[in-house]
Amino acid sequence: MFKKVVATVKENSKIAAGIYKMIIACGDADIRHFVPGQFADIAVPGHAELLLRRPISISAVNPDNNTAALIYQIQGKGTDIFSRLTPQTKIDAIMPVGRGFYLTAREKTVFLVGGGVGIAPLLSVTQKWPSKTYEAFLGYKGRDYAYCLDDFENACGKVIVTSDDGTLGEKGFVTDALGRRLIEAKPDIVLACGPVPMLRALKDILSPFGVPAQVSMEQRMCCGFGACATCVCGVDHGEGLEYKKVCIEGPVFDLFEVVL
């Protein structure tokens, strides 16, 4: 279960253009039961005028020293302030929150599809379920924006990289690369995280193949722990549209049920 904790910044450094990695000591948080896809909901320190916490996926945990890694992109005020936090800064976080990715014994080959900063949370899937066969499809804006590539190379049987500008891997959309690969090999499941247009393309590409997929959704959040119902996304299980809370009923949803 998530808790409200006082975490401590241990490291915080740039790992790619506009992308940072922060290691935090997690205080009283229960990170032993961390599930990939879960996030930390972090108050912006020292800024009383910014009321909302910022949700950042936990990209890896290390229960041995009680730390977690967060990989984030500078997007606006909050993440800009995060990028300037120095070691020892105390941060107020609710973590780990959410229903993450879920693999059973039935899924043996897993394709991971990530775009941009959405690539980060996928890595821990390979740590949580090490005995699966993984292929990763990673889409970056360009060479300067790439991060964690070595980690995926180590953890996955195959890594296909694309970039918007062609400076890294194939030029083009990561979903197109996936589409070509699907003609050769069909996984048991696809786990994806990335911008909505990528998820839409993913849906189109997967549909004809009948491959199930789980996707991590983003939504503007207020409380981050289920109390306000501001963070919803549409879900349709076949009984009409319902709004589900991304914070505690997600962020991971069935690609074929969620409204994109």
Binding site: K4, L52, R53, R220, C223, C228, A229, T230, V232, Y243
Partner: protein, 303 residues
């Protein structure tokens, strides 16, 4: 010396004057994972309507300077599902329970009240900020006549003390307050959120899926304080102060302006521990001020 934090609201004793505001505490469950909900003076449940409501199109929240704009839109399971699945758990909290009631017509309000009359709920809170569909969507709470009719009808069927929750969108909130009082309100709570909007200049779009929403948080406190001050001097029923309460001192300010109790809303969402912190800070404030009974604060502003 210990401060006596108890306050009496419509004949019922609350442990302390700090209540969780409707829509910011759901039905108490999520907060109960993080704090001891029973320490609160009371909790106001999310607005209940006769039918299930799916709520507004997302995004539903925008951040503004010292505030937030939300457009949840009364998403709730409907009173029947509430009774069937949630009431039992709510009843376990050892604190005053306020059922907040919303509707599109007077019949809606009446229907919900009748279904909740026989429960252990302590108070009803009539959310009259809702648009009246019969009257072209103007909110019950912005029109003296509609407010009066709604409160009278609700009172006629209600078996519990009735708090009427006022909206700041009323041009003259004192007039609506008087109308509600004369129609039988046992207490008034104010303010609900202020109609507002947030825009993303970069995308040239409104941030909320619903375009507009309601502003809450510290930014609205000065507006709420004035309304509570004005209303509490104009009516003789107790007033519950709401709007941007984040600290014990904020709560004290509302009580000084005439509130018998207060509700914290946004604070609960921003920091789940806030309601307990507010109680502790209010107690500490009372000690510093040599007040041994928190009720002494109500209306004690020296003007």
């Amino acid at each position: 010396m210990a401060v006596d934090m108890k306050v009496t609201l419509c004949g019922k004793v609350l442990k302390n004057p700090v209540i969780a505001a409707s829509g910011t505490f759901a039905f108490g469950q999520q907060h109960s994972w993080l704090i001891d909900v029973s320490r609160l003076g009371g909790i106001a449940l999310k607005s209940l309507t006769p039918e299930k409501r799916v709520g507004n199109k997302p995004p539903r929240i925008a951040e503004t300077a010292s505030g937030i704009v939300n457009s949840v839109g009364l998403q709730n399971p409907g009173v029947d599902v509430f009774l069937e699945k949630m009431m039992k758990r709510v009843a376990l909290f050892d604190t005053a329970i306020i059922a907040n009631i919303a509707g599109r017509s007077i019949d809606d309000y009446v229907a919900v009240i009748q279904k909740l009359n026989e429960t252990s709920i302590d108070f009803f809170e009539l959310n009259i900020s809702c648009p009246n569909v019969r009257m072209g969507g103007a909110s019950f709470g912005t029109d003296e006549g509609m407010a009066r009719d709604c409160v009278m009808a609700a009172k006629a069927v209600s078996k519990k003390p009735m708090i009427v929750k006022l909206t700041p969108a009323a041009g003259d909130i004192v007039r609506i307050a008087r109308a509600a009082e004369s129609a039988g309100a046992d207490a008034l709570s104010l303010i609900n959120t202020i109609p507002a909007m947030a825009v993303d200049a970069k995308t040239k779009r409104p941030i909320l899926g619903n375009v507009t929403g309601g502003l809450s948080g510290p930014c609205i406190k000065p507006v709420a304080l004035k309304m509570v001050y004005d209303v509490s001097r104009a009516v003789s029923v107790p007033v519950i102060g709401i709007g941007g309460i984040m600290t014990g001192e904020d709560a004290a300010e509302f009580m000084l302006c005439g509130a018998t109790a207060v509700m914290a809303g946004t604070a609960n969402l921003v920091d789940p521990e806030a309601p307990l912190r507010i109680i502790d800070e209010l107690t500490a404030y009372a000690k510093t001020m040599n007040i041994d009974n928190i009720t002494a604060l109500t209306g004690a502003l020296e003007v």
